[in-house]
Point group: C2
Chain length 201, copies 2
Amino acid sequence: MGNSTPYRRTQTERTRASREKILQAAIEFFSKNGFRGAKLADIAQAAGLTEPGLLHHFPSKTHLLMQVLDERDRIDKQRVQMILQQEGNHVLEAFQDIVNHNATVPGLVQLFTVLVAESLVAEHPAHAFFVQRYQRTRASLVESIRKAQQAGEIRADLKAEDLAILMTAIMDGLQVQWLLEPETMDMRQAFGVFLNLLKAK
Amino acid sequence: MGNSTPYRRTQTERTRASREKILQAAIEFFSKNGFRGAKLADIAQAAGLTEPGLLHHFPSKTHLLMQVLDERDRIDKQRVQMILQQEGNHVLEAFQDIVNHNATVPGLVQLFTVLVAESLVAEHPAHAFFVQRYQRTRASLVESIRKAQQAGEIRADLKAEDLAILMTAIMDGLQVQWLLEPETMDMRQAFGVFLNLLKAK
DNA sequence: TACAACTTACCTAGTGAAAGGTAGGCAAGT
DNA sequence: ACTTGCCTACCTTTCACTAGGTAAGTTGTA
């Protein structure tokens, strides 16, 4: 068994740590400057590597981007799932929890806000990813909303599909205003007002 | 007086036409690729000029960006003002008209969607512009909403400030989904559903 | 357990292709 | 006589990515 001083480690451990640091740094720069604006050199440096050192782990900038997105998306999905289970039948509370959590991770919120806008053009490497992601997210929201409507939690006179679109739009839109003025904007409170509009009387 | 054949024109006329073509081309490429991703050479070519030819009219890429934004913002403000007057006291109808109009100009909608996301980082040349624009827009919305509340058009149990934030968020958020899937998404319809939530019963 | 053969992680140095902007000129317009 | 609109040619920097090497870690075999 190899010992575990910082200098002598197993390769698998080194690799894991490096990839992790790279992904972390990539999030930082992609979220600040988008895919196009981010420089591999900066990401590499923040991860404690040189540029070719980074490219040893991820064959190209595009691969790095997709890896970041897949990874983050996976974690996101898990967390949402967890919150929904945790709140049981209180769907509105679960929605609020999601927004409350987002309000604690501006970097990640900005990552998606910046990248989705950049990828509106069909040629962007992440375009298909985001189209899919939105379809999936809305479909999942429809399920939750329908459940809440049947439980009498959300007003039932509106189509779940429409509400899912609005819910998605509100979250995205609030994030933009919040990221522009983090001090002023209370995203959680504003979202709460929206949820109130949906409550079955 | 100069004659007006395409080749021999007055300088002022040539200048005006060139600037106009440049601004038009700039909108096209800024909206597709953002500020960073747009290439001056492409914009120049689309305007029928070389790169230095373009730079004769706008001293730098950044100047061109700000000019585009100021110009478009001015026109936008005017149109919103016009719609509000036209609809008189029907504020909700006016809001719907604004969205309906936006649905006919995807290029312009994308311009702002892409640029605001890119400019979330404080160092972006358009950052201050967008912070101001959002403050102004919301303030103007607050006025309209308040008026509609007093007229019994919008439910009065909610703060106009909160509703202005939500209205802005919904518009922005719907635009993202619409630009991602222009065929599928009916932005106007979805916005109508939201407006219904606000109607005084 | 020892050591040779290999694989892996990462580096230095370099390449080539953008891309924004400059210098200076020329011809048309004033 | 001058100013303006636009061009050709050029410069500089940036940036993703490649070539090739080195040292550390890993594995197979006696």
